[in-house]
């Protein structure tokens, strides 16, 4: 923490973690100091009052996700923290380039494995990780997609370690959600805290809908001047329904559910008051499994019978493409640095969290030698099942982990415990440090575009590293400074 903040906020202590506001950064200019001074001027009490009014606003506007338990449905809001997270121009430049690089590699990888499979033949990644993957979709084999784009919308989870270096934690290449909060949070800030933002030039976030619509038009079957795009949602009972509405509105396209669409002669139509109307691109917020009961889960009533057939006939685009899950899988993640190098001939601009692959002898040895310092994860599981956190595990737990890994090394990876960066957050003790991550969103049609900033998810509990909304995480407005301040300037 720098001198200015030691004076301004003597109580605030980020400890050994990188702080997104108080740790000195060369091109942050006066902004961090302004923010701190403005927060002090507003005062804790007024801050709390305004924050609570902002949350009421979210409830009134129905900016909610729905939690179902027993027979009752409860509308919850994603807790909003009113102290923004600030990214400098140079940080954003790196993040933006790194995200584009990552998406380019993901698309190249998907095009390859659903094509000739060179990456496997060249021994970059083991065949069973690809073709034995539950998310590999044989339906996609040898059906190239427009512009080679499979991942039209990607959300990449990025964290920052104790040194302040960004690291990719996870790729989300299926139907990533959360982008609506990026834009709603900014609107909320502008309405509720105009005095906090005055005079600070930020990169705008309101172009997302137009960009997405344009990308959806770019990938539509050729030759149409104004292709019809729809957003396919599972409907009002889906927890992300608010986001689906938000995006349909921002794009200016109909929000449809499966029952609105019909396939005749391998062409997709929507049912309107004037009869059937052709549809050319389906931006779907429905998992692969549910898309088409004739191809995938036959019990799905959310999907559209015949949709995959229409896609194979070249009459409709589906975004994201089917089968992208094979690329954002935990096991494949470990190979992403090599995948980037293989296709692009470049080093990753932002590294993975250091990952040891136990199916490789040196990875296995390192993991077994350092079990008490590492997080070990089974690659086939999700939802945190089977994870052992070395520093917090007992002797017995470590022995169990050792036995499991030795028995089947292919199923395991290990990573160091990363100390996520923190940001000042309005908390029970006042303004306190809370851990957070960042999920930028990348839209790709012909080319990639990255929404400035992204979703900053923050763990509202002191000391917690878990930022997920299902576990009490909240979010912050993410500012990208439009102005590059001279390095070594004020603050």
């Amino acid at each position: 923490m720098n001198e200015v903040f030691r004076k301004l906020w003597p109580e605030y202590d980020p400890g050994r973690y990188f702080c997104e506001l108080t740790t000195s950064r060369p091109d942050a200019g006066p902004v961090p100091q302004w923010l701190a001074e403005r927060l002090d001027r507003i005062g804790l009490e007024a801050l709390r009052a305004r924050a609570s009014a902002a949350e009421t606003e979210l409830i009134d506007l129905g900016v909610t996700f729905t939690v179902y338990s027993d027979a009752t449905a409860i509308d919850r809001i994603l807790p909003f923290d009113c102290i923004p997270r600030v990214l400098t121009a140079s940080e954003w430049d790196l993040l933006e380039r790194a995200c584009k690089q990552r998406v380019a590699a993901l698309n190249a990888f998907l095009g390859d494995i659903y094509g000739k499979g060179k990456v496997v033949k060249d021994g970059v990644i083991p065949a069973d990780l690809v073709y034995g993957n539950a998310n590999y979709r044989p339906e996609m084999q040898d059906f190239p997609v427009p512009h080679g784009t499979y991942v039209h919308v990607c959300g990449i989870d990025i964290i920052r370690d104790e040194m302040g270096d960004f690291r990719v934690l996870e790729d989300n290449a299926r139907t990533p959600s959360g982008v609506s909060y990026v834009i709603e949070n900014r609107h909320l800030m502008l309405r509720t805290f105009p005095d906090m933002m005055a005079g600070i030039k930020l990169k705008p976030v309101d172009d997302y809908g137009r960009r997405l619509r344009a990308a959806m038009a770019e990938v539509a079957p050729g030759g149409l001047e104004d292709p019809t795009v729809v957003l396919l949602s599972p409907g009002i009972y889906n927890s992300a329904y608010f986001e689906h509405v938000f995006l349909a509105r921002e794009m200016g396209v109909p929000l449809v559910v499966g029952a609105d669409l019909v396939v005749e002669n391998d062409r997709v139509y929507m049912r309107t008051t004037a009869g059937l109307k052709p549809v050319h691109t389906v931006y779907r917020r429905l998992n692969d499994d549910f898309l088409d009961p004739m191809v995938f889960r036959s019990d799905s009533i959310l999907g559209v019978p015949g949709l995959i057939g229409a896609w194979k006939a070249g009459n409709v685009a589906i975004a994201n493409a089917v089968g992208t899950g094979v690329a954002d899988d935990k096991a494949v993640y470990a190979y992403m640095p090599r995948i980037i190098k293989y296709y692009l001939g470049e080093e990753p601009l932002i590294q993975n969290v250091e990952t040891h692959i136990c199916r490789e002898p040196e990875g296995l040895k390192y993991t077994l030698d350092n079990l008490d310092k590492l997080v070990t994860k089974p690659v086939g599981e999700s939802g945190g099942y089977g994870i052992t956190i070395g520093p917090r595990a007992s002797r017995e737990e470590l022995d169990v982990a050792r036995a499991s890994i030795t028995a089947n090394p292919d199923n395991w990876i290990s990573q160091p415990v990363v100390g996520l960066s923190v940001a000042p957050t309005l908390a029970e003790e006042g303004i306190g440090p809370r851990h957070l991550d960042l999920r930028p969103f990348i839209i790709t049609g012909k080319e990639s575009w990255v929404l400035p900033g992204g979703l900053s998810r923050v763990a509202m509990k002191r000391g917690s590293l878990i930022v997920n909304s299902s576990q009490g995480g909240g979010s912050k407005d993410t500012w990208v400074l439009a102005e590059a301040f001279a390095k070594g300037g004020a603050a």
């Binding site: 009002i236 929000l255 049912r271 004037a274």
Partner: protein, 338 residues
């Protein structure tokens, strides 16, 4: 040349708009009825007065099955607090909000926020809100809530086809409610007996007019010595009263015609024919003739015609997104059961 285009309207959204309007119209009508029942209940005959509400909504069976007893307190609770009763105000508003949720992509933020906040207010009503002078305030807020919705809709909802379907739902429901109210009250107030009784009944006629938002307009039109026939005429056939059956039907006709003309929805033809028949039914015969034969049967006929219009609209425009439906009755009933 402008490059803007007609985005069309999903059949499902057309149905959603139609029903959202119906549910909200029911809320306002019910609030009006509760308000006048409260204000004009005859001391000593409270239960009779409140039971009228049950009869208007044909809720006799439903009410007893849900374990209520036939007194004023229980009837108020049945309509204002019981979310499990599909005809209650909270249930109608919840249905309206569920529709609003599916329609959110087409609605203004103001519309959505208002219905959200309104629904929350209603879902939090408690038994204390129905006691003493609190009930009148609740009714006021309920009417305010729907009227705010109506005003925001007028000022912000984009007037393409969707607006027409919204209006059609509202007008059909309104005409239906007017006939139901008239039916029940008229039967209860059949003009017979001594002069004193007639005077007492005047109070009740005034209450009906207030519930139909026509009290002052009627005063301006009527002679000092008005007859029940005059009231019936006003509620059914006045060309200018916003809640008269005739005004509603004329607007239904005109909206359907617009849908056919402006949006090329030729499937509106059947519904237009039904609306024409209903208009004929409303103005074709002298009222004295109708009253002589029996108003109840006549109003039944009007209600059946309204249902036929709704079914024709459903068949022409809504059914397409649920192609498995076989009959118009099913098409008309499906939202009810949903």
């Amino acid at each position: 040349m402008s490059r803007l285009r007609d985005p069309g309207l999903l059949a499902r959204d057309a149905e959603g708009l139609f029903w959202m309007a119906r549910y909200l119209e029911r809320v306002e009508n019910l609030a009006r009825l509760i308000d006048v029942t409260q204000s004009f209940e005859s001391p000593g005959f409270e239960t009779d007065a409140w039971w009228g509400l049950i009869r208007i909504n044909a809720d006799e069976k439903n009410f007893l099955e849900r374990g209520f007893s036939a007194d004023a307190t229980d009837i108020k609770r049945f309509y204002l607090l019981d979310r499990g009763n599909k005809t209650s105000i909270p249930a109608n508003l919840e249905d309206a909000r569920t529709n609003a949720r599916t329609l959110r992509p087409l609605m203004s933020t103001e519309m959505w926020r208002q219905i959200n906040v309104f629904q929350r207010f209603v879902s939090r009503l408690s038994p204390e809100d129905l006691e003493g002078d609190a009930l009148a305030r609740v009714c006021m807020r309920l009417k305010d809530g729907v009227q705010a919705h109506t005003g925001i809709t007028e000022g912000t909802l984009y007037r393409d086809q969707g607006w027409y379907f919204y209006e059609l739902g509202r007008l059909i429901e309104r005409a239906d409610q007017t006939t139901r109210m008239l039916d029940i009250k008229y039967t209860a107030l059949l003009p017979h007996g001594a002069e004193e009784k007639r005077v007492a009944e005047l109070t009740q006629w005034n209450a009906i007019l207030r519930a139909g938002a026509g009290y002052h307009a009627f005063k301006r039109l009527a002679h000092a010595e008005f007859s029940p026939e005059d009231v019936v005429h006003f509620l059914l056939r006045d060309p200018s009263s916003p809640r008269s059956a005739l005004l509603c039907v004329r607007r239904i006709e005109s909206h359907l015609d617009d849908l056919r003309r402006i949006y090329g929805l030729s499937a509106a033809g059947e519904a237009i024919e039904q609306a024409e028949m209903l208009r004929e039914l409303l103005i074709g015969r002298p009222l004295s003739h109708i009253l002589a034969i029996g108003l109840h049967d006549y109003l039944d006929l009007v209600q059946i015609h309204l249902q036929k219009i709704a079914a024709a609209i459903g068949r022409a425009f809504f059914r397409d997104w649920r192609p498995d439906l076989e009959t118009p009755q099913e098409a008309a009933a499906i939202q009810e059961s949903a």
